[in-house]
Every structure is written in C-alpha cells, then in structure tokens.
Amino acid sequence: MTENQKKILEMLSQNKISAEDAYRLLNVIDAEEGKPESTVRVEPEIKTKPKYLRVTVLPNAEHEGATNADRVNVRVPMSLIRAGIKLTSLIPSDAMDKVNDALRDKGINFDVRSIKSEDIEELVEALGDLQVDVESGREKVKVFVE
C-alpha cells in the first residue's frame, strides 16, 4: 500500500471524504502510478431508498393458453405503506388486544403495539432487497421494489 493510498483511507476513516470520493481518488492514483488493476476494489454500494413496491402478474409465455391469462401490474408508493403501518397507532387498545389475540391464535407471537416509527423505516429499508419470483402454470408472479 502506497503513502497516497494510506492518506486516502485515513481521510475516509475520519469522514473527511465520502466512500465515493475515496474510490475515485484511489482509481486516479492507480492510473497515475501505472499500476495494473490487479487489486480488488469493492465498489461502494449506493443504496437508494426504495420508492415503490411492484407486484406484477404476467402470462407465462412457455405455457399454452397463456395469452388469455390475466395481467396485473400494481405499483404502490412506499409512503402509502408507511402511512398504512402508522395507522396501527390509531387502533383503540381494546381492538389492539383482540388483534394480538387473533395473531397469537395463528401462531404469531407479536405485539402490534410494539411497532415504532424507527421500526417502520428499518422495515422499508429491508424491503429494498425484496424480490419474489413465482412461476406457476400460466402465470409468472413477481414482487419487487424499485
């Protein structure tokens, strides 16, 4: 590791520069020093916040009769999902107990009262990696986030 590379990594660790800038500077140094690109660079993952939840149901082209299959394309804004989850705070405590009892009967040991706004943000961020692909018969179902 050269001195310049060490300096860049120090600046990154002190938050003087962002990961993107560090990556760019390291590449510039490599180009100036004429080093071959044999070192492994981990590209900084720029995770954008998920904006929409998409559900698509499309005909499976490989299946006979797929042309008559239903098509569904739904795009739900994440803000709507957040607002919907926040509505749980409006449920009266009596109804909340009934909801918790019903969940427990189904084997889900979860208290709806414990949902906080920080948890919603964490849940929405986690949904960013969600991808479901189901292929069955005439249809292909996809659930993903964009």
């Binding site: 098509r71 394309n73 739904v74 804004p77 709507l80 607002a83 409006l90």
Partner: protein, 92 residues
C-alpha cells in the same frame, strides 16, 4: 409537508363499455377546504366535547392520518387486464 395528488386517471373497459376519466383532484381540494372551513366550528366543538373521554384526541389523529394517507397515494398505479376487461387507475 407532502404534496397532495393532483390528478387521477381512470380507465375502464368492460367489453362493450369504455370509460376514460381524468379527475382533477387539484380542483376538488379548494372545494374540500371550503367545506372544511364551514364545518370547522362543529368539528372543533365535537373534538372539545369528546376530548375528556379520549375520543377527541383520536378524532384529531384520524383527521391528520387521513390527510397523510391521501397525500401518500401519489404514484399509485393499478393496471388489471383480464380477457376483454381492463381497469387502469393512476394517481399523479
């Protein structure tokens, strides 16, 4: 503050009938505001009367949550096609 939706595009095709509508939600907003202003004394009195029992606070939270929900539907798109029928709803 989130911006409320401006337009709603509706298209329905039920085989023999085809309907396409552009609903200008931005025109409905001033009307709703006028109605709200007219009814606001009654709403305020109702909230104050219900406040000691706890229902007033709930009513106020429901109003704010309903507004938040309404503003959140911007970008909603539903497209459903089945044989000769299709339904398309888009909120801009």
């Amino acid at each position: 503050m989130k911006r409320p939706p401006m337009l709603m595009h509706l298209r329905f095709n039920t085989g023999d009938k085809k309907i396409g509508l552009w609903l200008p939600l931005f025109l409905l907003m001033p009307l709703a505001l006028v109605v709200l202003i007219i009814l606001s004394p009654l709403i305020l009195i109702a909230i104050l009367v219900l406040w000691p029992s706890g229902w007033g606070k709930l009513a106020l939270m429901v109003l704010t949550a309903a507004w938040g929900l309404f503003c959140s539907i911007r970008g909603l798109q539903v497209d459903f096609q089945s044989h000769n029928e299709w339904v398309y709803i888009s909120v801009v």
